[in-house]
Subunit: 138 residues, 2 copies
Amino acid sequence: MKLLTKNTDYAIRALLRLARGEDEYISARQISELEKIPYQYLRLIMQELIKNNLIESKEGKAGGFKITKPPDEIFIIDIIRIFQGNLQLSDCMFRKKVCPNRSNCVLRSELLRVEKLVENEFSSISLQSLLDKLSKQL
Amino acid sequence: MKLLTKNTDYAIRALLRLARGEDEYISARQISELEKIPYQYLRLIMQELIKNNLIESKEGKAGGFKITKPPDEIFIIDIIRIFQGNLQLSDCMFRKKVCPNRSNCVLRSELLRVEKLVENEFSSISLQSLLDKLSKQL
DNA sequence: CTTAACTGATATTAATATAATATCAGTTTA
DNA sequence: TAAACTGATATTATATTAATATCAGTTAAG
């Protein structure tokens, strides 16, 4: 079970970069080099972040990206949701009206509980809190 | 993020079946039909469960599988570990000596915490507790 | 003593999700 | 007008997960 996929992880790192970068625009190229994220892949990630209003862009030479909100208003869960969708349980039979399988139903409520727990945890971690940790490391 | 993969889920259901089945052997064919699990896939799962000493088998006609421990001694985490390995964090750079990426390191401790949490939850759910729920549903 | 119903072991394929590249059009600045 | 960028989208590669298939060996029952 992987809590974060690579794109979520890359996105977090990219956002942390932007959050550190005052209000200048930072290009995908720069972020890619600083954070060692494959350039083209990062581009896709940035586009997703734009769609979700976490960052904004400036086109053309000297263009790049800028974070749109203060880092204490962005939470890890927001980023997870973008790239990994809502937390989901075992594939099983969820959309179906009546769960055709009792054993699974029994599991369901437990999984929902754990899911909720994980969600709460990730809802409590803001970019700012990570930045704070970062600065302590220096 | 999927908490359980299908094989884990199937394994849990199969084990619940066995746990309900007194001390008779139940064949993969029967379980497959009762729980609607693809037969050949289930066979593989049963073999894994044997390797991990959760069940034992009897060969030949009238053969099948039997659970080896009382259901209050088997926990969901045990089954998850068999089929999904240890909970793992974001792929990132874990085995490496020095984390080459500070931003990620900052995430690391948080992820470890959440991971531990999930682990604890799944360690507290026994097959017996699921069986209890099942019987209430009847 | 042979056949039906089973498990053991392992190989193969299919399906899906994740990760990474590639391309081309359009924008901005110097 | 060229260099350095983003927008949009298509393509490919890789890994993981799920599912099938095959064949040898075992057991029980007629």
